[in-house]
Amino acid sequence: MAEKTMVEAVRDALCDEMRRDERVFVLGEDVGGGGVFRATDGLRDEFGEDRCMDTPLAEAAIVGAAIGASINGLLPVAEIQFADFIHPAFDQIVSEAARLHYRSNGAWSCPITVRTPYGAGIHGGPYHSQSIEAFYAHVPGLKVICVASPYDAKGLLKSAIRDPNPVMFLEHKKAYRLFREEVPDEDYTIPIGVAATKREGNDMTLVTYGLMTRYSLEAADVVEGDDGTSVEVIDLRTVSPWDKECVLESVRKTGKALIVYEDNISGGFGAEVAATIAQDAFEFLDGPVTRIASPDVPLAPYSSVLEEQILPNPEKIADGIRKLAAF
């Protein structure tokens, strides 16, 4: 077992799956040369141009062709170079991939995976920083995964590729090389839709996903060190379908819920988590269901002083924990 970065883990998962199953192939802009983040490094050498295919610059066609290829027996993994550039493919994803199975009464299906780097914090400005999970988690028929750790990335990407449904696989780009983690060399999968309790605690449930998991764990440690508040941190990992039971069970235990996400607060995915808790765990709550997220500003301004002002970080999360704990 070796320590790997997340981008290495993604690459390993792709390579493994391509070896395991010749129906798997990757397509996208620049993937042949390894991709701008190197997530497809070496795949063209091993599997050839056909299975690691550079496409013209055209996101709707990339996803549309992936859908078609999946209809004809393959398991395509489409790479969208940045999540911010996926919008031209919105129609293909929402109208086509998500609805094909339902509209045909189960006759046709669309086992594609769409991988894309998302998230802010790298001075990417308003077009290399966006969070897009809220759009897709709202669409029935899609599964949506948000990863920000090497171990999860490998296990969940394998599940995504093997899943018979269309899966949006969102990789937090700031986490690509932020840290290393033990990643087993052997084949393993992590089930889609199952959250991970990354930290046990009794005073409060903190629900999060993506890079914010790391920041939240940091914040929880700091606050516990300061004043003993014990925070349970749940990393959803999959935002659709999400692990309601895990979250509700924890909130029933702690009585308080803090939801942390990087995306704009209004209509972000965390709103769904908050709304569900408010409805289904109401009798257990002894504090307001609280959200910490980015304010409603295009994510994210380029200048690092502006960017830092906008994005959640461990300090802001720690403040939120303290405030809710004091309620």
Partner: protein, 334 residues
């Protein structure tokens, strides 16, 4: 196995095949008429049909190998669906939103053709979205080493959508076995050709993607068949895509919700009715001694009988069980 024909100008089709062609065209016309009638009777809330497009639809589909080649149709393609092997019963079950409909079990609008066995891929209503699917299917055929052909059908309005450009470009780069069939009926609902594009023949766009484009008389079934046959051969041989633009005319309103008198004169419609594909082919069949008037009447009667039986069956078939409404959002695990 195409039998060699001795009928001059028949593009190598035998008399039986020529009669079959007419049968499918008449069937398509009459299923459309039946659907519009059922709609007027209040039995189906919506009808979208293709009267006038029969030569284009049947002529192209006749060049395909059903169950091997792939069809990505749009809502007007009754003739494609029937030629490839869907039945009037299939279409009328869909028209009435019946549980048994193989198109969608009542989930999709009617005329959103689908048959897994016949490789007619379930379509949606936003136009042109099916075009990249054809490209992806052909890409998979290439990767898998199969000599299937994928045919994408769309209208002159749909041709303006960006993803058509993206798809043709991708197909051109990889020389994929795709045929782009543009059924140019000169209107997108009320918007006439002159407001849809500054050019007359949309097929010249193929040059911009590095493959041939042809414009054919879409009301001449043999001309259409000939162009399609050539395109299928080219695709099957690994020589890449073809764009076929078939110039035709929709003889009926856009859908049951449309009133086409708002945007085109009755004279114009009548003019095109005279040039209609059925009447033209019927005359040709008679003049070339492929079928006599009474033989053609028989063909038509057979089609009508099939449609009547299908109507009766479909009307009696049960509507979906409401309890199933939530099924098939995701693939059900065994």
């Amino acid at each position: 196995m195409v039998s060699v024909s001795d009928v001059p100008g028949a593009q190598g089709l035998s008399k039986d095949q020529l009669r079959e062609l007419y049968y499918k065209m008449f069937l398509a016309r009459s299923v459309g008429e039946r659907e519009r009638m059922l709609n007027r009777m209040g039995k189906g809330p919506f009808a979208v049909t293709g009267e006038g497009h029969e030569a284009t639809q049947v002529g192209t589909a006749f060049a395909m190998t059903p169950g091997k080649d792939w069809a990505l149709t749009y809502y007007r393609d009754i003739g494609v669906a029937l030629t490839l092997g869907m039945t009037p019963r299939d279409l009328l079950l869909a028209h009435l939103g019946r549980a048994e409909s193989i198109e969608s079990g009542g989930r999709n609008m009617p005329s959103h053709f689908s048959s897994v066995d016949l490789r007619i891929v379930s379509g949606s209503a936003p136009v042109a979205t099916q075009v990249p699917h054809a490209v992806g299917i052909a890409l998979a055929s290439k990767l898998r080493g199969l000599d299937e052909v994928a045919v994408a059908y769309f209208g002159d309005g749909a041709a303006s959508v960006g993803v058509v450009h993206e798809s043709m470009n991708l197909a051109g780069v990889h020389r994929l076995a795709v045929i782009f069939v543009c059924e140019n009926n000169q209107y997108a609902i009320s918007v006439p050709a002159s407001k849809q594009a500054a050019i007359t023949d949309l097929s010249i766009r193929a040059q911009g993607y590095g493959f041939p484009g042809v414009t054919v008389d879409g009301n001449d079934v043999l001309a259409v068949y000939s162009a399609a046959k050539e395109a299928v051969e080219r695709a099957r041989n690994g020589d890449g895509p073809t764009f076929i633009e078939a110039k035709t005319y929709r003889l009926v309103p856009h859908t049951s919700d449309d009133d086409d008198r708002r945007y085109r004169s009755r004279e114009e419609v009548e003019e095109w009715e005279k040039k209609g594909p059925l009447i033209r082919f019927r005359t040709w069949l008679e003049e070339n001694d492929v079928a006599s008037a009474s033989e053609i009447d028989e063909i038509e009667a057979k089609a009508m009988a099939e449609i009547d039986a299908a109507t009766e069956y479909a009307e009696a078939a049960p509507t979906p069980d409401p309890a199933t409404a939530m099924r098939h959002v995701f693939v059900e695990e065994e």
